[in-house]
């Protein structure tokens, strides 16, 4: 295979005017709902998800249905717009189940053609979660549950945003994907590294369920979209970390001068800026590839793996730099930088590590292992 011959037409890496308008609207809304102190307080409240913000985003603005066709009550938009929403959600480290419900669960339902559930999720009044552990990469092996007499039995762990979900999409040992009402299962929050996207265990004890389609293609499609659009969330995390650190270091004075004037720090921030500029290109490329549908599926795989392999470490690096350059105040519970560090680190595992995406690329672009 010669990789240069399989490239798709040039990707559109810019933002349209409509996309910028969408960004501005989401950013305004989050400024009202997701202030850092409020997000920190909520993480310890026993209800970490911000239902108000979700309602405003999903029902008020209709954003839960961006990827759902208009005929099913959605917006009929694309991954390009969803990516812009995720940039802003990342920037605010917003505790809403957007990536898990409006992207990952929605993609699984699209693959299955589960129209009724799509309409429910698009409305934002119900929240869905794919019951596959958050660390699983597209194409990776994942756990399934048993079926006995048509009922589901088993325990699944590491399910992101399951505590917020109304419907769970559960892969079973027979290769089917089943829709299960969350009322019928036991969902228990796990103490999570990422306080704003907590994971949970799901125990199914003879639960009646409805088979909506084949699990393999649906899970693969869902995780691919999740991994690809996660890069936009990571971009938002990195941009907040950079912007906030630059702002702080212009104000913070030590040795009778702004700390941001020391060359050792200027160079680190410039380097970080460069990484965010690169992340934007990688993230837009992935969003544009996903939006282009399955024209050339291998090229979509390349764009997604590339974006995750690049963006995941950048988001972590940005949050780590933000903490170090804020120094003492950055180490406190009161300052929001820890929310970004925890989200960024969890994101670096979510939908496959950078290393697993590089391994995928080795096959995709023919740079085979020894």
């Amino acid at each position: 295979m010669t990789p240069t011959t399989t490239q798709r037409a040039q990707p559109d890496l810019l933002y349209s005017e409509e996309e910028e308008a969408l960004r501005a609207a989401v950013r305004d809304l989050l400024a009202d709902h997701c202030d850092p102190a409020g997000v920190i307080a909520r993480t310890e409240s026993g209800a970490p998800h911000d239902r108000e913000a979700w309602k405003a985003l999903a029902e008020g603005m209709g954003l839960a249905g961006l990827l759902v066709p208009e005929a099913l009550g959605g917006q009929g938009a694309t991954h390009r717009e969803a990516a812009v929403v995720l940039e802003e959600l990342g920037r605010a480290v917003a505790p809403v189940p957007y990536l898990t419900s409006a992207v990952v669960a929605t993609e699984a339902l699209l693959a299955c053609g589960a129209d009724d559930l799509l309409t429910e999720l698009a409305s934002g009044r119900r929240i869905g979660a794919l019951a596959v552990a958050l660390n699983i990469a597209p194409g990776g092996a994942h756990r399934t549950v048993r079926i006995e007499n048509g009922a589901l039995h088993g325990e699944l762990t590491g399910i992101a945003d399951a505590t917020a979900a109304d419907v769970l999409l559960v892969p079973a040992e027979d290769g089917g994907l089943y829709a299960v009402d969350s009322d019928a299962v036991t969902v228990t929050a796990q103490v999570s590294l990422d306080l704003t996207r907590p994971v949970a265990t799901v125990v199914l004890d003879g639960v009646p369920a409805r088979r909506i389609g084949d699990a393999a293609p649906a899970v693969r499609r869902a995780l691919r979209a999740g991994a690809g659009l996660l890069a936009s969330e990571q971009l938002g995390l990195a941009e907040w970390s950079l912007t906030e650190t630059v702002r702080y270091l212009k104000e913070r004075k030590q040795f009778n001068r702004p700390v941001g004037g020391f060359q050792a720090l200027k160079h680190r921030l410039a380097q970080l800026w460069l990484e965010t500029v690169h992340t934007r290109a990688a993230a837009r490329n992935a969003a544009d590839a996903l939006a282009g549908g399955s024209g050339d599926s291998t090229e979509v795989d390349v764009a997604v793996a590339l974006a995750q392999a690049y963006a995941a470490p950048v988001a972590v690096h940005a949050a780590e730099e933000a903490l170090q350059l804020h120094a003492g105040i950055g180490m406190t519970w009161e300052h929001p930088v820890h929310l970004y560090l925890k989200r960024a680190k969890a994101d670096s595992i979510a939908y496959g590590t950078a290393g697993s995406h590089r391994e995928a690329l080795a096959g995709l672009v023919d740079l085979q292992a020894p």
């Binding site: 240069t4 810019l14 060359q263 200027k266 921030l269 934007r280 290109a281 085979q368």
Partner: protein, 402 residues
């Protein structure tokens, strides 16, 4: 500044296509001499369409140049071998256009674009590298002429050039940025001596240029006396813009040769090299997309600050990738193609053998602004962080430490 419109209003893509076809009809590609064709193209305003009428352009938007280039390429028309005359096209021309008199623009731009006259740049000096404004080459007024003495370095194409853009000190009593004047220097003047400067690759791409009582008529001054630093900013901005302006295919840069070697030579593969190669492949592909995004921004007329960072990424990647390739080659990595002193007239960072690529790429983080200076520029101009403390800004040049 270079997008000024002159003459009869907007020229759109259809009009440019029509004029290009008209040129091709009047000067058939098969039966027209190369230079004659290029001159006719210049006179038709199709050389650089964003330049004014009469100077090779039509005052059209810069983004429409691609329309003309595509038509001409399809017709198999000759080009002006832009890599041979890169300094003229990328640096001298925008400066002449921005600051030149009508006489200077009419005299210099046509032979420059056609490639009849090669240009070089006399800026850096042994004592003025990153701190270019500290330069010490002196120009003293003598009647209608200036008499220039000094030494310049890292001058590519000096041995081929007819003209040079030159900055020299005209007022040593002024602070360093204010005592500089910008000239066009005749490289055939008997006081100009060009010596090859051999570099670590064994060859000599660059030269040292010694200037001894070189006479430059005042009519060859660009901009006002003492305003040379500001004029030079135009030149240097264009140097940085010209990097990253092209559309590059996947694996089109330094990552290409090592990826091919990896595919063709399974015997060389190790797990350690595999991990490092994949990481660099990812970074190279993302850097390529970043360049593509920058290009799209420019075409859309929304250039961002992203350009300032492209060279930083490109320098580091070139160095790491070529370094990896030498290691991958193992026993062959111990060899070098040829140390013979040569004078290449074109430079290909991704050409020749891995050893050459490794050594040549060391220059990528130095030439056109060191990576350290570029990081300062990003920090100060893009992020708005405080400038470095300066003790040299308000001191007369003659009193500076050196």
């Amino acid at each position: 500044m270079t997008d000024t419109v002159s003459g009869g209003g907007a020229v759109d893509a259809a009009e440019l296509r029509r004029r290009t076809q008209e040129l091709l009809a009047a000067y058939p590609v098969g039966s027209t001499d190369r230079v004659d064709f290029l001159k006719a193209r210049f006179d038709a305003g199709l050389a650089w369409v964003h330049y004014p009428e009469g100077l090779g352009g039509l005052g059209a938007p810069r983004s429409l140049q691609a329309v003309v280039d595509t038509e001409l390429e399809a017709a198999g028309a000759p080009d002006n071998d832009p890599r041979r005359i890169g300094i003229g096209l990328g640096m001298a021309a925008p400066t002449v256009l921005g600051y030149g008199t009508e006489e200077q623009k009419n005299r210099f731009l046509r032979p420059l674009w056609v490639g009849e006259e090669v240009w070089c740049q006399l800026f850096s000096e042994p004592g003025a590298g990153s701190d270019l404004a500290a330069l010490g080459t002196r120009a003293v007024r003598d009647g209608d002429d200036w008499v220039v003495n000094g030494q310049k370095v890292w001058t590519s194409s000096a041995h081929l050039a007819r003209w040079a853009i030159l900055i020299a000190r005209t007022d040593p009593d002024a602070p360093k940025h204010r005592g500089i004047t910008y000239f066009v220097c005749d490289m055939t003047d008997p006081g100009v001596e060009v010596r090859p400067l051999r570099q670590i690759t064994g060859e000599a791409e660059f030269n040292e240029v010694f200037l001894t009582d070189v006479r430059i008529p005042d009519a060859h001054r660009l901009g006002e006396v003492g305003d040379g630093w500001r004029v030079a900013q135009t030149t240097l901005m264009n140097e940085r813009v010209s990097i990253g302006g092209m559309r590059i295919p996947r694996e089109g840069g330094m990552i290409g040769p090592v990826s091919r070697t990896w595919r063709e030579r399974p015997d060389l593969r190790t797990h350690d090299l595999h991990q490092r190669l994949l990481k660099l492949w990812v970074e190279a592909e993302v850097a390529r997309l970043t360049g593509e995004r920058l290009r799209q921004q420019m075409v859309a007329g929304q250039p961002g600050p992203e350009g300032s960072g492209m060279k930083l990424a490109f320098a580091r990647l070139n160095q790491e990738i070529s370094g990896l390739e030498v290691e991958l080659l193992g026993e062959e990595g111990l060899l070098y193609e040829d140390w013979t002193m040569r004078r290449p007239d074109k430079v290909d960072f991704t050409g020749r053998d891995a050893g050459y690529r490794y050594l040549r790429s060391k220059g990528n983080s130095i030439e056109g602004g060191t990576s350290e200076v570029l990081l300062n520029i990003v920090a100060e101009r893009v992020l708005g962080l405080p400038s470095e403390p300066r003790t040299d800004k308000d001191v007369a040049w003659k009193d500076l430490a050196r």
